[in-house]
Amino acid sequence: MKLAYWMYAGPAHIGTLRIASSFKNVHAIMHAPIGDDYFNVMRSMLARERDFTPVTTSVVDRNVLARGSQEKVVDNITRKDQEEHPDLIVLTPTCTSSILQEDLQNFVERAQIDAQGDVMLADVNHYRVNELQAADRTLQQIVVYYLNKAKKKGELPTDKTEKPSVNILGITTLGFHNNHDVKELRRLMADLGIEVNAVIPDGASVHELKNLPRAWFNLVPYREIGPDTAQYLQSEFDMPYVDITPMGIVETARCIRAVQKILNEQGADVSYEGFIDEQTRFASQAAWFSRSIDCQNLTGKKCVVFGDSTHAAALTKILAREMGIHVVLAGSYCKNDTEWFKQEVSEYCDEILISEDHGEIGDAIARIEPAAIFGTQMERHVGKRLDIPCGVIAAPIHVQNFPVGYRPFLGYEGANQVVDLIYNSFTLGMEDHLLEIFGGHDTKEVITKTMSADSDLSWTKDGTAELNKIPGFVRGKVKRNTEKFARDRGITAISAEVLYAAKEAVGA
């Protein structure tokens, strides 16, 4: 048993449902008690989905428990098959069905006899994998199923597309900014003269899956969902893949160069160097922005990064390499990807933390006192309590991660967005600087919102006056640091002098 207050990744069935409901005309049946289909609520409320979520619960109640589900699951599959004629019905195991140890595979086989569409059992162990691993696994399973089916029927195309082409793998519903990222990737591929052969699973039909091998290569933008499928396609169909996340100017260029290499190996004669240079230096604003005077004041600021492997690693690189910001700690909750993560970020940060325990990350943030955090909703919350700004860069998703406007994280527009996010997260560069020079403009306000009645320290009149001159948004921090400084040195009355001594000593 584990005492848990917060989860960074959801349970396995959420991953399976994300894949199943991303496809067009695929229905998922859950063998679960009332309420376990809250995935529907997430789609309707968080992602503001207009269509009914194609997920139905075959309800497990006391009766089912007593008598076994008998025909119920099979009936529900065949019923849905008749009602909506889905191409595929995915029977989704849940924590309940796992313990009941019912033979779900048998249900699937029996339902397949009457069903017009295909029926399959998602093969995930609910207790051993999380949402992300289950999603990766289920996507691969569906791809394998349809490629084998096509092979059996002799419908598997053997040719490649005429022009260079790509499959983009791992774009899903309820993914962190996935809907914007895929638009940006399509645009990027168009700019590179590469046809998009398929995007899976989001909006794809299972009937198109047999055409996957026609593409020249696969692109896996996220490490969490897609790699299993890419590896399968490589081993079975000899398809190369690129798994460099095109996030940030440098990594986007690296990704494009990897694409270039793969295409040229297959006989294309492409050179993207000109495009990369044009995008980097002139078209995209990100590179210029981080070079501009505006961003100078971010130099050496301390920050903490935490998220899934993909986003945490990419952000760490952008912060350290492209903006000159000091990443004190980079961390990820994807324990299964520890090795890769360490290898990717170790040269760009002081510390690495791999943990699923939000308390551990919170403690690290409190200890480091960074100028900004880039993390999940949880770190945003921690930041609020410690009065440290936080930009949200990774799942678990929240309604705020489904902005109506265009906010990709990938590609050149993504680089712009990320730079904006970083810049706006810090208490601003130039503004900060000017306020420091002119001593702020809100001198009539109360000193801080915090109570220091329980403090053993007192502020002298001139100390208070000085503190008052410090801009409101950093005042609390200055006050804390000065008091810490005073306490460490046994000073009981804080004068203006002490304040400045502290400022010198700790850079408050």
Binding site: M1, K2, L3, A4, Y5, W6, M7, G10, P11, A12, H13, I14, P33, I34, G35, D36, D37, Y38, N40, V41, M42, R43, S44, M45, L46, R48, E49, R50, D51, F52, T53, T56, T57, S58, V59, V60, D61, R62, L65, N76, E83, E84, T94, C95, T96, I99, L100, H126, Y127, R128, N130, E131, H358, Q377, M378, H381, P396, I397
Partner: protein, 468 residues
Amino acid sequence: MTLANTQPQALEFECETGNYHTFCPISCVAWLYQKIEDSFFLVIGTKTCGYFLQNAMGVMIFAEPRYAMAELEEGDISAQLNDYEELKRLCLQIKRDRNPSVIVWIGTCTTEIIKMDLEGLSPRLEAEIGIPIVVARANGLDYAFTQGEDTVLAAMAHRCPDQAPVAEAEKEERGGITKLLNFGRKKEEVDAAESEYVDHAPLVLFGSVPDPVVTQITLELKKQGIKVSGWLPSKRYTELPVLGEGYYVAGINPFLSRTASTLMRRRKCKLVGAPFPIGPDGTRAWIEKICSVLEIEPQGLEEREAKIWQSLEDYLQIIRGKSVYFMGDNLLEVSLARFLTRCGMTVHEVGIPYMDKRYQAAELKLLEQTCHEMGTPTPKIVEKPDNYNQIQRIYQLEPDLVITGMAHANPLEARGINTKWSVEFTFAQIHGFSNARDILELVTRPLRRNSSLKDLGWDKLVREKAPH
């Protein structure tokens, strides 16, 4: 459980036993931990339960809540680990970190299926760690959504003291501040306060409502000279109400049938069977029923109700003559249907996850009577509805408003059908006379919003070919 169906048009009941969506009953943790301030809720379940509370219910730990998951792992499921030792480890940690007055164990589907003997483990652990442990089986196999509260209150009913003096002594010991505050008050004043009440058998109310509603309802009854001796749940676990044999108890929520029967059978209390105090009509009927069992002549209730209706007129104009369809979610459906019928709406169907015809008997009767008086057809009451079938019926009936769970709200709205989330009625303050306005504020909001958008010319936001 037969109803006295003497009306020409009786209510029709159907149990569809379909595939339907509603929230898991563990969601009660979301409001109960706030209500009972010195409690700690430990949900003993899997990642599925935890992720539900975190993402779908949106109860994140942002407010430093007093609840947590005891997440069952593979070793727990396969009984390789000792349940007692594991729970002890977690509860000791909770004691150390939060020191609550009570730990409520919320059993889930998983603990049911693996037959974890929570009721058997708790007395021993309680004695060992020195904190009361209440066990509620709020699992989705047996219950839906708001019934989670029912399981918790039924379990807590066992812990209410049965004699006042014992309780007083305990209170003195624990609530030193209360005693200090009362210290200055002269005895005559206390007597004067007492004299405002009629001498009647003790009355305890059950059902979790926000504190302002507790005050409103308590004062409303005081107007009739009725003294509420206590509420289950109370604001603090240490202040649970005394439940003596023969005490009268009245429910404030329609989903508390289990608590009601526990109070009757185990605590030998007398249940006041009344419609629920939702809407001015229900509130009046509820108070009248309480008055009648306590043998008190109600004062000015008719005028009070009339005045409330008068004040609602601006909202009534919006909904009068319109139709409403309840898909069924939080078990407040029958009470709301009755109130909205009285408001002049026609109710097509009342979906409801679970229908206890005995506990809701007075409410059902009032619904039937209201339909009769308003000259509207009685709605069909569909227990455990099938959501797919319901949506086909909604397409056919084209109701002016659908009150539904969160899963179907946006898809229906995209098809030009006005919706209101049923969950909002669970969390809003809807009980009593003055809160009737809040109910109508919620009910009319989609109608008001969409009427302000109606001239734009786009009410359907999905392509024609895919209405289903």
